[in-house]
Subunit: 415 residues, 2 copies
């Protein structure tokens, strides 16, 4: 075993040791920890902003794009935003404990209780708000957390983690509940992905290449998040005015996020009417159409590859289809299984679509942009799972737990 791995394992052992008390703590104690961490963030504002300034300076030196620099930047208001978000999570219901209870004919009483998953590792990119966000969701759900942020935010993350640890200690927990590697090298990230037995779940939060690297290299359990090649399908009976509003929202309201739409399917019967309208509505978005689309409106040609592409940008591919069955077939082949919408007034089409589309979230007459823990009413989310096992769709606090069966008897043996 090399030194990098040994060093990470030592940190995980510290976390696991500290985690024992956290796992059996009351919801109230965990909420107090969140409130103390929020206070500590605000109290340490000056140190955090100084550290952040170093990251910003380095980013500018390295010629990082303006939009990225903005994602990295903290100020008083943003820190207040982060600590207020932590206080909001503290107010959410406790995801641990409770659960069904039943008694078997032999008198055994079985209780299914929710318990923490254990040690959750998060590998993420530049945004320093993810640091506090991930810590807060993990601690609330009784899990320890191993944070590996991007190198661009190294100083900011170090300062934030230090403030959060201080808060934990103030509330009576050990600062060891939060761990982070000593550097942001690729080797460290790769080693973290293979700590079987020390990392109970790894969640990558970031772009496609990060997620691909985790899925390819990890031997610890992973939840894949955020791949979103989402579709909006406008069925021939649709209210076209509503359809245009929804398509515009799904594509243009925030094109860089995973629940933004990348592909528009339109029924042949309405293509001549609807495509010219949508071209106008999506002004500012580059359109790439199938052969039939190109015959109706003046847009570039889409390749088969376009239909598989998550642009995360002001680009959309368009395809004319022959009714809802073809739409469903096209989507199930090309989608990443995140979110898809049908716009229709035909109940039969809506029912067929929702039953047969194989994605985490399927919409009728609404924007795909709603796939989100807050919007679903979960209060918060650690990511949006596009896999089938354990969690699918927005992952809230409840998805950060596992179960334990507590069985109470009075001497029962098996016959």
């Amino acid at each position: 075993m090399n030194n990098i791995k040994e060093n990470l394992i030592n940190k995980c052992v510290l976390a696991k040791k500290a985690g024992k008390l956290l796992a059996v703590s009351t919801g109230e104690a965990r909420n107090n920890a969140l409130l103390a961490m929020a206070d500590s963030l605000e109290k340490n504002e000056k140190l955090i902003l100084e550290a952040n300034a170093k990251d910003i300076e380095k980013a500018k030196e390295n010629g990082i794009k303006e939009a990225m620099v903005d994602r990295l930047m903290l100020n008083s208001q943003r820190i207040k935003g982060i600590s207020d978000a932590m206080r909001k999570v503290a107010a959410l219901p406790d995801p641990l404990g409770s659960g069904e209870v039943w008694t078997r004919p032999n008198g055994l009483m079985i209780r299914k209780v929710k318990v923490p998953l254990g040690n959750i590792a998060i590998i993420y990119e530049s945004r320093p708000n993810v640091t506090a966000d991930a810590v807060c969701l993990c601690i609330k759900s009784g899990n320890t957390v191993f944070l590996r942020g991007g190198k661009e935010a190294f100083f900011s993350n170090t300062a934030i983690i230090s403030a959060l640890r201080e808060g934990l200690e103030k509330s009576g927990f050990s600062g060891d509940l939060i761990q982070t590697p000593d550097d942001t090298s690729r080797e460290t990230a790769t080693a973290l992905m293979t700590l079987s037995g020390y990392v109970d779940l790894l969640i990558p939060r970031g772009g496609k290449s990060l997620i691909r690297s985790v899925v390819d290299n990890a031997t610890v359990p992973v939840i894949e998040t955020g791949a979103g090649n989402c579709h909006v399908y406008v069925e021939k009976t649709a209210d076209l005015e509503m359809a245009a509003r929804i398509v515009k929202n799904a594509k243009m309201q925030r094109p860089s996020v995973c629940n933004a739409a990348e592909n528009l399917l339109v029924d042949r019967e309405i293509a001549n009417d609807f495509l010219p309208v949508i071209k106008k509505v999506l002004e500012g978005t580059e359109l790439r159409g199938c052969e039939e689309t190109v015959g109706i409106i003046d847009v570039a040609s889409a390749t088969e590859e376009d239909f598989f592409t998550e642009y995360d940008d002001y680009i959309m591919s368009l395809k004319v289809v022959d009714g809802y069955k073809e739409a469903v077939e096209h989507i199930n082949v090309h989608s990443t299984g995140h979110s898809e919408a049908i716009i229709t007034r035909n109940t039969e089409a809506a029912d067929y679509f929702t039953a047969n589309i194989d994605s985490a979230a399927v919409y009728v007459n609404a924007s795909t942009r709603f796939t989100d823990g807050e919007e679903f009413g979960f209060g918060a989310e650690i990511g949006i799972s596009t896999q089938r096992l354990h969690a699918r769709g927005p992952m809230g606090l409840s998805e950060m737990t596992t179960v334990k069966y507590i069985v109470v008897g009075n001497g029962q043996t098996r016959g």
Copy 2:
């Protein structure tokens, strides 16, 4: 891509194609499929028994142990047992559909529905009853199934699968819902473990070496099952007569199964009284004790390795501990996280034990042998998960599903 993998992928594609109808079928249609498969098994009894005779003959030629030959053997009564078990599963509640419904302040109505996981692969060893058992649970939960049984049962499994397919076709489904490789080579098994995108879940059912091989080689999602280094801890306030009965049951009623106990911990205060009793009660079981145990009763010495060992045999390791905190610490270090029991009359000890033991099932005053889908009231089980993600403990039909969110609006867009 080599030929083995290509051949398996072709079979998975057939399964996925046939699976589309299954995934949206009614519970009644799936139950009818189970009943038709049960009938078909009985109708094909002669062919199945002829095939089984070939396997038995080969096993005897190869000098396979008597106990293994018995596990392999079918007869009229055993086939009736298998088909009756299928009818029982048909009568269980439908695990698909239903789920919570809620409405958001913006009017979006969200429905969380249970849907099939997809294509479930099972790699298992010699017992041919697993073939029908796995098919029946997968089809009931809307999943297609890829069966890779042991080479010892090749002819039996081929005949059973053929009968089950015939039943599926009779009930209006495609026989393609059940797939199996053309051979039982190791290469085929290994290829099956790496069919990302074609196998949605792989469940190994069998001994330690099979499970280890799957965990080491699989790139598809896996649920680890059946590793059971289970403990019984007799606390100083225990009813010693009850404790002796439970220890005997947990160790000796069926030592080869994963929920049998392998380790006995005894409080120091009662060790002088209890150990001589337990030596008599466990007659026929080889005992291996810690230093203190060896000072009290005449048994062999246990090594540290013994405390990590799942014997699956008439062997048990014994350790004297200094109260429930030490017992919990010892168990959490040495256990595989399957099932552990405390025998006690002290509520404080019981509460500490159930809260702090980190295993799928934790018992107070009952035998570990109850960790089982039937015994828990789930009606059936596909295995007992010792991992934390997706399912933990007995996996019933409900654990063979994932979720989909269906969201119905009237034009909502995100602001």
